[in-house]
Chain length 339, copies 2
DNA sequence: TTGAAAGCGCTAACAA
DNA sequence: TTGTTAGCGCTTTCAA
């Protein structure tokens, strides 16, 4: 039964009594026009025979797989999950598929994935790198467009799409200050991430209000990272009353740590995090967070990659404002989840 | 600069002073042996020229893209995220890439994704369907192997990989009974999911202990679904003291609903859910859950698909036991998160 | 051990 | 409007 021959374009042509070229013209709506009757015959043949054009052949001819590669640094991160979903949708809408890969914090794995995707001649790669200054020279040499995700334009010549980290962090910390907090700690990204604007924003908000810089603890952008960091912060007995975390995953971990310590949120410790993922909506209390416009970022990323592939247009760095999603963890009213 | 010609096999052959065939022999380690000196020359040429074999050409020739397709029904589900990650790893280990797609509860979208993947001639499709009885006739007709994920072998002729839902649910509910609960409600999957063993397991555990069937509320397998369902359950004032939810996402939603109602967990309402995703580890209190062996399932799924493609071996239905991950939400000791 | 060459199935330039 | 055909870059059979 597996010997049943697969239908190819020529079978359709024969059945419809036309040349193979005409089948292509119909399928691709060009580049030549086809008489309506002929087209109908071809379509009928395609239907009857159950013909499906072979994507590999098409890819070989067109030098385009109509596939994007996505390389994410971290597995359990809710924002990345949502970003990945949004990217899939945006790509699918344009007829592109997305190959997902996950580096799980390993630079070696990241390189491996990049190599693989380049070999597959994907039409573009979106990279949320493990490193602050990812080495994409090989990818660039192969002529595959790359776009950096969630990275403040760390490489001039490489386009990027990311939230305005500095401004977002500033707004988050200001909000905590407005709630009356004076001793605000921060759980930041991994130490490699030197250029992270979130630290700068936190720091600026504090300085502007004449407040001392609270303790700063770097951690992996995962629930467990936030959990451990918060535990350490709480144990240090620093008189901390509020915490800003660099992502929702860390925020969730911090929430847990505070609960475990028997402290009340937001009364004893208030928390604001960064990302605006759905996960933050269902914690207890709801996790206040700076929402990144994920869908917009995904759409723009896909469009940018396409533009880069087609015309040699200059790479752009896009920065998106975040908006405060105030919930219970900062001391605002905890509205019910809506989604 | 984008006119720089891409290096193809023939360039390598010319540089190494061999025929293109030899380059292939070296690259594929066969089917012919190559003299070591020649091989060294070829390898050197590949290195110098930065040659990368074109995957599309290879796919066309071999009739294999070395890509699997993954079609997931729901976006925000933590288990699916972990399953997807595990599948990527298992596939990558074999040199395969994975194209991820998400149906977001829509059967139409699911069909669309299946069509696309078939057109791309992927080597196999893993499907967590929106429907209880997915229509995969088209995919089967095209000769693309399919495997059902998280679905109790609903179609005889299609291989599947999934947890033992009935036994898992039974164990979960028994555990609640052992904690002394007598009125145990359930939040189940969507109503389409008639064959779901979790309901049966819940029901059997109750019956065996001579307990009445508590209320049963169907919901989407998402946080919001669990949230709404739990709210309804709580509002019904049914004397409920415990809740079993069909997935962690629902469990997280239920947790939130109970907190909002001002009830204590586990004292007023105890909860056990199903999946064992990392998300359940960081809630407050920790969400007790039946852990599915995701990595094992992923590995087996990939292996099965490969076996199906290569030899015409009979499809197998694999069922995996779940293990209770006891935490605070059921009334057990809430150990600290470890991961 | 190496090489020549026949396709894999498709797109699109060119011819009719 | 339709047909003919030359590749796209690779694998592998068959011949040397």
């Amino acid at each position: 039964m597996s010997t049943r021959k697969v239908v190819v374009r020529e079978d359709v042509a024969r059945y419809a009594n036309v040349s193979p070229a005409v089948v292509s013209y119909v399928l691709n709506k060009g580049p030549k026009r086809v008489r309506p009757e002929t087209e109908a015959r071809v379509l009928e043949a395609i239907r009857v025979l159950g013909y499906r054009p072979n994507a590999a052949a098409r890819a070989l001819k067109l030098q385009s797989q109509e596939i994007f590669g996505l390389v994410l640094s971290t597995g359990g991160n809710a924002l990345f999950v949502e970003l990945a979903n949004a990217i899939e949708d945006a790509a699918n809408a344009l007829g592109f598929a997305v190959i997902n890969t996950n580096s799980r914090e390993s630079a070696a794995r990241e390189r491996e994935h990049l190599r693989n995707l380049v070999n597959r001649r994907v039409d573009g790669i979106m990279l949320a790198s493990v490193e602050a200054q990812p080495d994409i020279s090989e990818v660039a040499r192969a002529g595959v467009p790359v776009l950096l995700l969630d990275n403040g334009g760390s490489i001039e010549s490489v386009p990027s799409v990311g939230a305005d980290l500095e401004a977002g962090a500033y707004d988050a910390v200001r909000h905590l200050i407005d709630h009356g907090h004076e001793r605000i700690g921060m759980i930041s990204g991994p130490p490699t991430d030197l250029s992270d604007g979130r630290e700068a924003g936190w720091s600026r908000a504090l300085a502007e209000s004449g407040l001392p810089e609270g303790p700063l603890v770097p951690a992996t952008p995962k629930r467990f990272g936030g959990y451990k960091a918060a535990k350490r912060l709480l144990a240090s007995g620093d008189g901390l009353t509020a915490l800003f975390t660099s992502c929702d995953a860390q925020g969730v971990g911090a929430l847990r740590a505070v609960h475990e310590a028997g402290l009340r949120i937001p009364d004893d410790i208030a928390i604001v995090s960064f990302d605006g993922s759905t996960e933050a909506e269902f914690t207890w209390p709801g996790l206040s967070t700076m929402r990144q416009p994920v869908e917009q970022m995904a759409e723009d990323a896909v469009a940018e990659l396409l533009a880069l592939r087609d015309g040699g247009r200059a790479p752009t760095h896009r920065t998106y404002p975040t908006t405060l999603q105030a919930r219970g963890s900062c001391g605002c009213v905890d509205k019910d989840p809506l989604s």
